[in-house]
Symmetry: C2
Subunit: 258 residues, 2 copies
Amino acid sequence: MEKLSIVKIGGNIIEDETSLKAFLKLFSNLEGKKILVHGGGKRATLVASKLGIASKMINGRRITDAETLEVITMVYGGLVNKNIVAKLQALNTNAIGLTGADINSIVSDKRPVKEIDFGFVGDVKQVAHESIDKLIQADFTPVFCAITHDGNGQLLNTNADTITSQVAVGMSHLYETSIYYCFELNGVLEDINDKNSVVKHINSKTYSELLEKGIIADGMLPKLENCFDALNNGVSTINMGNTSMLTQENDNFTTITL
Amino acid sequence: MEKLSIVKIGGNIIEDETSLKAFLKLFSNLEGKKILVHGGGKRATLVASKLGIASKMINGRRITDAETLEVITMVYGGLVNKNIVAKLQALNTNAIGLTGADINSIVSDKRPVKEIDFGFVGDVKQVAHESIDKLIQADFTPVFCAITHDGNGQLLNTNADTITSQVAVGMSHLYETSIYYCFELNGVLEDINDKNSVVKHINSKTYSELLEKGIIADGMLPKLENCFDALNNGVSTINMGNTSMLTQENDNFTTITL
């Protein structure tokens, strides 16, 4: 099967013009078929605040009421996504910016209200891998922002990590898929205070050991659970580290396989 | 040659939720291959004003400084475009929202500074009709907002009527193209005070007569010039009227041919 890379970047790269530019160059140089997924949280908070809309967070998760969804649609779907697309075009990457509503690519269910009403937040239900592949086969590079839809006209704010893993799982029907989660750390760290103590390889067996030792905890725990979920559903390899893992020169990042 | 319809809607339809819903139903029911182009001016003005950015207009044209371009990218490319796409999906039209940066579809030159500096405004230079056709051939329905790019990473605010005619001219290499300009009038009017005095057909010959009689003047003049320019460059038919011209039931609109 042909290879496909799915790269996810977070707010820290998007916020900083220099980091974004450097990253987009690395992404453009990445060989083979590829997909980019981006968040954009801080910028949305900033625009919301300028518009006099208070950002409501519970346990680090944004509560998306109707006016917050409008801001997210403007910032993720418009400002961030279209500027990334224009910058990629300047680097000769034939990008196409998408939400999950475009070509019906990602359908979600609005999260059911339990203890917390998260508002217009989506849990991914279905990825139209064949439609996404039509774009890839046409030599376009999909750039997804963190918005999906319910198929009935409602856009939904959706976690970018989840979009990444679900799109990767979907595309695994057609490609040998690798995920690259770019974040501020060099990878999963043996010692959280030593940024160079990267655990280079994790598999199902060593994962259990890392869990027992308490090395994977807190915010890393749901990320890793999400990773193994994707691997169990067809994704070949998942890499976590800073953006330089996209080059051949850096091998100091974490690779996760089954 | 196969037929392709390019439909343009303006701010008056987008602003009003009921009008937009009714229009999108008509557009979805329109048979054959099609493209939608939308503006969104008033909404941008509203968001800009909420953000404390004054809208600068000279002779009815928006001056697009850097922060105004950000608002336009948020509102046209995000809020308006993605909501239209989600609503079309709910009507089983497999829409894909685009700026001219996406798939490098529309490249513009930043308008040169003469008496007036329009700022980040683009004059269309090139339409990638073959790339756009890849989407159409994949059974996707392109939905363009009024933003293009310069190919060097810069997004540019671009007149939606111009985008419509230039995309139509480009697609005329591959299709028999018809434009539908939906606006608040029933068509070109013989008597501006009688909304039913529609001039049903205009061609090059009758156009000269209408000009002499002063029936085509003011805001209608550049619109019609733009139409004949498109017709001279390959577009087959241009229709102007209210949205009901998209149905078979209404024949009270203006059709323009060479």
